[in-house]
């Protein structure tokens, strides 16, 4: 069962051994940005979750950070 770790501090995620990592926005709002308008923020969150799903569908041999 693959797990994707969505985390703001990627070095910590790497240290604790996550294999699939999606970097997020900020510590107090990893999947949001209060500075954006509501629908823009939803769009941002949706795109991050889609990226996480892509990570779950990607074979990895070692710890992988899904940038971009």
């Amino acid at each position: 069962m693959p797990v994707v770790h969505m985390a703001s501090i990627v070095p910590i995620s790497l240290t604790v051994g996550a294999n699939r990592i999606v970097p997020t926005v900020a510590i107090p709002h990893p999947l949001g940005n209060p500075e954006l308008a509501e629908d823009e923020e939803r769009e941002l969150r949706l795109s991050l979750v889609k990226k996480a799903l892509r990570a779950l569908q990607t074979e990895v041999e070692e710890q992988t950070v899904f940038e971009g």
Binding site: M1, P2, V4, H5, S8, T15, P28, L31, L53, L56
Partner: protein, 351 residues
């Protein structure tokens, strides 16, 4: 020199006490007057300063199968000889014997309040069970290392018997217990850090004052082949809980995780959910908990058919000064539940 000898009780298994092998592994604790087997060497080294007044013997199988009762009996037997120090083993790489040595030391220390010490090989499974509460000295993996082990143990027993302080592990050579002890030093942290850095730059050995914990590595799981028929679960260490934090997950050093149903919920709203995490500014998460646990996005992807199903329960704990041991325990328990529910993949969010 010493007017009164300090009193030592020694713990051995049936084998080293020369009672028998595996066929005697089921004998309950008994006590012998004076030193037995390896205890005789210990007595020789202690000389006139200390005396091995008695030896508690127990079968390895008996102890391992009745840890609490056996340890309690060992305490009773030992206490009748009024020991100043309790020493067990060495157990080398024998797992059950290691548990017996660690378990009896731990119980004696707790009940009788006297210093205790044992010794075993670094891979003995009992090491991690007892190293925090008991001084454990490293030994070889087999009885070939007996002489060296007894010498080291005798040094400890002597110090303890004479009421001397046991220093830090790198000086005394026992397995680090993971304790931090306050001490006064002449040089500030900045100076010490620069010294370390200079040694590091020169490629010379240096001793960190704050060793980092080691983390287990897990091989990556295979990818999900068909997301459209997959069940995806949400898990977070960001402390998103129903309002009022019904299971009272601690804001720091969490002792538990919780599971909550999100069946029929499309959006985490500020009136129904909140964060209980004490390690970040809660304003944004309380305003919109989806910012930490992205339920609204996951639900819309489920409705679009991009994922087969969003699992009906989500799991939450607080990752704030939470010990690695607790986190591993929570992780294992959550993984077992998700596996039993045939979940295919997990989105784990952290703050």
């Amino acid at each position: 020199m010493a007017e009164k000898k300090f009193r030592v009780v020694h713990y051995l298994n049936q084998f080293f006490a020369q009672i028998g092998g595996e066929e005697k592994a089921n004998i309950p604790p008994l006590i012998r007057e004076g030193a037995v087997g390896p205890g005789r060497v210990l007595q020789k080294i202690l000389g006139e300063e200390g005396e091995v007044v008695a030896t508690v013997v127990c079968g390895d199988g008996y102890f391992a199968e009745n840890i609490e009762a056996a340890a309690e009996r060992v305490v009773e037997l030992a206490s009748s000889y009024k020991p100043d120090v309790f020493v067990a083993g060495p157990a080398f790489n024998a797992g059950r014997y290691g548990v017996a040595c660690g378990g009896s030391c731990s119980a004696v220390s707790e009940k009788l309040g006297i210093p205790v010490v044992t010794a075993m090989y670094e891979e003995n499974p009992a090491l991690d069970l007892y190293r925090k509460e008991v001084y454990i000295i490293p030994t070889a993996d087999s009885a070939r290392g007996m002489r060296e082990a007894i010498l080291k143990m005798a040094t400890f027993v002597r110090k303890m018997g004479l009421g001397q302080e046991i220093g830090p592990p790198q000086e005394e050579g026992y397995f680090p217990r993971g304790l931090r002890v306050n001490q006064f030093v002449d040089r500030t942290g900045a100076e010490r850090a620069v010294d370390m850095l200079l040694l590091k730059l020169k490629g010379e050995p240096f001793q960190t004052e704050y060793p980092m914990p080691t983390f287990e590595r897990v091989p990556p799981s295979p990818a999900i082949r068909d997301l459209r028929s997959a069940t995806i679960a949400l898990v977070t260490s960001g402390g998103i809980v129903p309002s009022g934090n019904p299971d009272r997950i601690e804001a720091a050093s969490a002792s538990k995780f919780a599971e909550y149903s999100i069946a029929g919920v499309d959006d985490l709203t500020s009136d129904a959910y909140q964060t209980c995490h004490g390690g970040y500014d809660p304003v944004y998460a309380n305003e919109d908990p989806d910012r930490v646990l992205p339920l609204d996005a996951a639900r819309s992807l489920e409705k679009d058919g991009a994922i087969g199903k969003l699992y009906d329960l989500y799991y939450v704990t607080v990752g704030n000064a939470t010990s690695v041991a607790s986190a591993q325990k929570f992780g294992k328990a959550i993984a077992e539940k998700l596996k039993a529910a045939d979940v295919d993949g997990v989105i784990l969010t952290s703050t």
